[in-house]
């Protein structure tokens, strides 16, 4: 059996890559994908911790996170499409003044 620390190390690495993507990229879609990456890393952490603690509630928490993430993707992509229709750009640099 692989110790849960290895899974959590992998999850930490995935989370860090996602965070770096948020900080370095300017494409709203890629930044959104990086958010999904970070959510997924947290899910992996929860499942490993649940297994180490013999607790099924870790998997229940992941289930809830999946639902919330699905709702978040729907609204977020709708916002990106609405912005693109208005401004014809997906770069967040163009949207810095918070005006329509």
């Amino acid at each position: 059996m692989v110790a849960s620390g290895w899974y959590m190390g992998l999850a930490a690495a995935l989370f860090t890559i996602g965070a770096l993507g948020i900080l370095l990229r300017r494409n709203a879609l890629v930044m959104f994908m990086c958010i999904e990456l970070m959510l997924n890393a947290v899910n992996l952490t929860l499942i490993s911790a649940g297994r180490a603690m013999n607790d099924i509630n870790g998997q229940v928490a992941v289930f809830f996170i999946l639902v919330v993430a699905a709702a978040e993707v729907v609204v977020g992509l709708a916002i990106i499409v609405a912005i693109f229709r208005r401004r014809a750009t997906a770069s967040v640099d163009e949207l810095s003044e918070l005006k329509g």
Partner: protein
């Protein structure tokens, strides 16, 4: 032994996919990298006996969410070039410094030898306790977490209504 081999293979693939998401210039490649990462992490779920969560991950994430992402990429245009030059002053320097700081911190914490990943870990893992079948997930979901479950139902309704409102908004205005 099987778990160790699976872990190494899936971990390397997932990391490669994650790096692809960040460095790929074409948004479609980013989406494919994310898809690969989601699939391989789902395999790691199965290895840890989280069967239902792995199935939901493949169906909802790798299926529905990534289809939605690709749909939006095609709608916005795949050949939309991203300008690479950084407009925030010293952003890359700050990010590099921050990343270095995190790596040093992680190294110090690991090498101190007192760090445990799961402080409340049980002395021995019982596979039956976390065997994530549909029944095993459903029991706490519909007893202990029933209020949260109802709240997610409300959340999904609001999200669907919000997405429709956002998509409809421009057609009314134009």
């Amino acid at each position: 032994m099987v778990e160790a081999v699976l872990f190494v293979l899936m971990a390397l693939g997932a990391l490669a996919g994650a790096v692809t998401v960040v460095v790929a210039r074409n948004t479609v490649y980013s989406a494919m990298g994310l898809l690969a990462t989601l699939f391989l992490v789902a395999v790691l779920y199965v290895v840890q006996l989280a069967h239902l969560v792995a199935a939901v991950q493949v169906i909802v994430y790798a299926g529905a969410v990534m289809t939605l992402f690709l749909f939006v990429i095609m709608l916005i245009g795949v050949d939309l070039s991203e300008d690479i030059d950084e407009r925030l002053p010293r952003q890359r320097l700050w990010v590099g410094g921050l990343a270095g700081l995190v790596i040093v911190l992680a190294g110090v914490v690991t090498l101190s030898g007192e760090f445990v990943w799961v402080p409340a870990a049980a002395s021995e893992t019982i596979a039956e306790a976390t065997n994530g079948t549909v029944q095993a997930i459903a029991e706490p979901l519909f007893t202990e977490w029933i209020l949260a479950f109802e709240a997610t139902a409300l959340l999904l309704t609001i999200a669907a209504a919000g997405a429709i409102a956002l998509a409809h908004f421009r057609r009314v205005r134009v």
